[in-house]
Symmetry: C2
């Protein structure tokens, strides 16, 4: 397994670029021995910022790039005119093995499109999926797809399960991640044809007698995503997107309503102040900065999209996700699982027909 | 408009039947002048319970029914053998105009199936939708479909918008309810073909120069459902179901984590006790009992499904929903809107082709 812990960073992507990118790298640096950075962007701007941090400077290289892909550019435009941009060249560094992975806080659509073109897909993977980690009652879980594919076939869903499994193992350090398939009920007859068929295949893959057996739990419902019933939530891109955004909206709403309710009375305010350390612990646990980083799973490399508005700490968390995926061989695991699975599916098809 | 405020009650449905049904009716009674009840069920059990409440007794009739549809029965079985059940006969009372609407806390699948068979659909409505009211930041909203139709065509979605509009007007007392279509982004090119086409039609219906013009807001996302961006959230049954259950799960999770965080320290507990009245106000506002009642919109009558585990207060809220739908002419409004719409769509098709 190649564990190239050099991370290519698009220094010009995101609202706070390049400062946030460099400060974020400097935070992430402390977490990994052997980590190195390749910064892509405007050298005149980047160099003085890196030079502020002696240790960061010693593990960093700058590649000057003349162009920037803006947040407004359409993916098609970025593909046509972005070849000399910080984003494009950072991705190329992964293709050329100069870096093990890439992190950008820039234009999401462009990052996805360029990654697909430059890196291609992991052999056997039909479609990439967007994944994200979310806090749950019991810890954290990864959910995919979050909108790359509004409509999904059986094969897509099964491959998402494989990729989610590999991600939970590599980036969330789980040994046998429990996998659930998002549905509108838990009985076998619920949901769409694609979901029911994917369910049947995943049940077979649970019984698979190899190191690639999936710990498939079965159908899960909207409740289960925040509850932590499973470690990997597999969904079509439409309902996955709805589920994730609903969690975010509901969490924000309840926090706001709580504040409002408390501030209604003086005694409420005093009580709130006394309970503040407890609230802060909770806030820290569900801090969205800790869960920064959308993953483009399926492209042949570790590509992490940081939120455009990320601060340095949040950006450092996105860098950590890339590091963990590289260190623990995410891409290699998916490649091996998919290869094994294609044999297994073939075998099961033969036995179905036989 | 016929406003028959006699409510048919399936006295034998739900975990707490028949006590809860009768106590719930007795609470709802105080909210509506002219309300009457037809109780369907085991007379020997029901009569003594009603007799405890003099005023309730004076506005109630009991129809003895020998059979009960259990929670475990499949809809197909209920359709075959349930013709003398409390649920079936309560629904028939609506068909025969003995009651204006029906409420049951019994088997959901059976209630839906029997309602469709006995009442038929509102003329022009292709498929029924399950709807529910939810608390939002700004008040409340109605969401549909919640799972009756895992996959939806353009026509289904447009009709759900019409039914959601009529429900918000009649049961939520809104004058020009804002309608949103659940999607994974707000740009015109996002989502599936059906959703984009429904979006185009709904935009036209917004510009409609009649009393039936819909106040169509456009696409909304998962965030918007709890936030209260719109009053009516139209979704396919799959993502609507995911969205509703995700809201419920997230709300429960955050309340639990909050409690856990607070109980961690003595000072936190004291602070919590001081802020308790504020928390209780919030709890009351989002009390799920207030939002009890799933609606089967589209069947030709006001059919409300109470949660099986409802208490008397929750059941009374489900009765109120039925009363408001009847009083404010939900079925009539849908019928008129659909009739108007079919002309409007025809006209727009002609102009598209012309």
């Amino acid at each position: 397994m190649s564990t190239n812990l050099t991370i290519a960073l698009d220094a010009m992507g995101g609202d706070g670029a390049p400062e946030i990118v460099i400060e974020g790298a400097n935070i992430a640096r402390e977490r990994y021995s052997g980590i190195k950075f390749l910064f892509f962007g405007d050298e005149a701007k980047i160099k003085p910022l890196i030079s502020k941090h002696k240790e960061l400077l010693s593990i960093s290289e700058i590649v000057h790039t003349p162009d920037i892909i803006t947040a407004e550019e359409k993916p098609s435009q970025a593909l046509r005119t972005g070849r000399k941009s910080s984003m494009w060249l950072a991705i190329e560094a992964v293709r050329d093995d100069l870096a093990g992975g890439v992190v950008s806080a820039g234009n999401t659509g462009a990052l996805m499109a360029i990654s697909r073109i430059v890196l291609g897909m992991i052999p056997g993977i039909i479609r990439p999926a967007i994944a994200s980690v979310l806090p749950t009652r019991t810890g954290q879980a990864v959910m995919l797809d979050l909108g790359a594919n509004a409509e999904c076939s059986v094969e897509h869903l099964v491959q998402f399960a494989v990729m989610g499994d590999a991600f939970a193992r590599s980036a969330l350090h789980m040994l046998e991640p429990k996998i659930g398939l998002l549905n509108i009920g838990t009985e076998d007859n619920k949901g769409t044809d694609s979901i029911r068929q994917a369910h049947t295949i995943l049940k077979k893959m649970k019984g698979d007698d190899s190191e690639f057996a999936l710990n498939y739990h079965g159908f899960v419902e909207g409740y289960d995503a925040p509850y932590g019933t499973v470690d990997v939530i597999v969904a079509d891109g439409f309902s996955g997107n709805v589920c994730l955004k609903t969690i975010e909206g509901t969490a924000k709403l309840y926090a706001g309503m709580m504040r409002q309710a408390i501030k209604h009375s003086l005694i409420g305010k005093i009580g709130y102040l006394m309970a503040l350390p407890a609230f802060n612990r909770l806030k820290e646990r569900v801090d969205p900065r800790r869960y920064n980083g959308a993953l483009f799973l399926g492209v042949n490399g570790s590509v992490v999209k940081s939120h455009g508005g990320a601060d340095a700490y949040a950006f450092s968390c996105a860098v950590s996700v890339a590091c963990d995926m590289i260190k623990n061989g995410f891409v290699e695991r998916v490649r091996d699982e998919i290869e094994h699975m294609s044999h297994a599916i073939m075998a099961s098809k033969v036995s179905d027909e036989g």
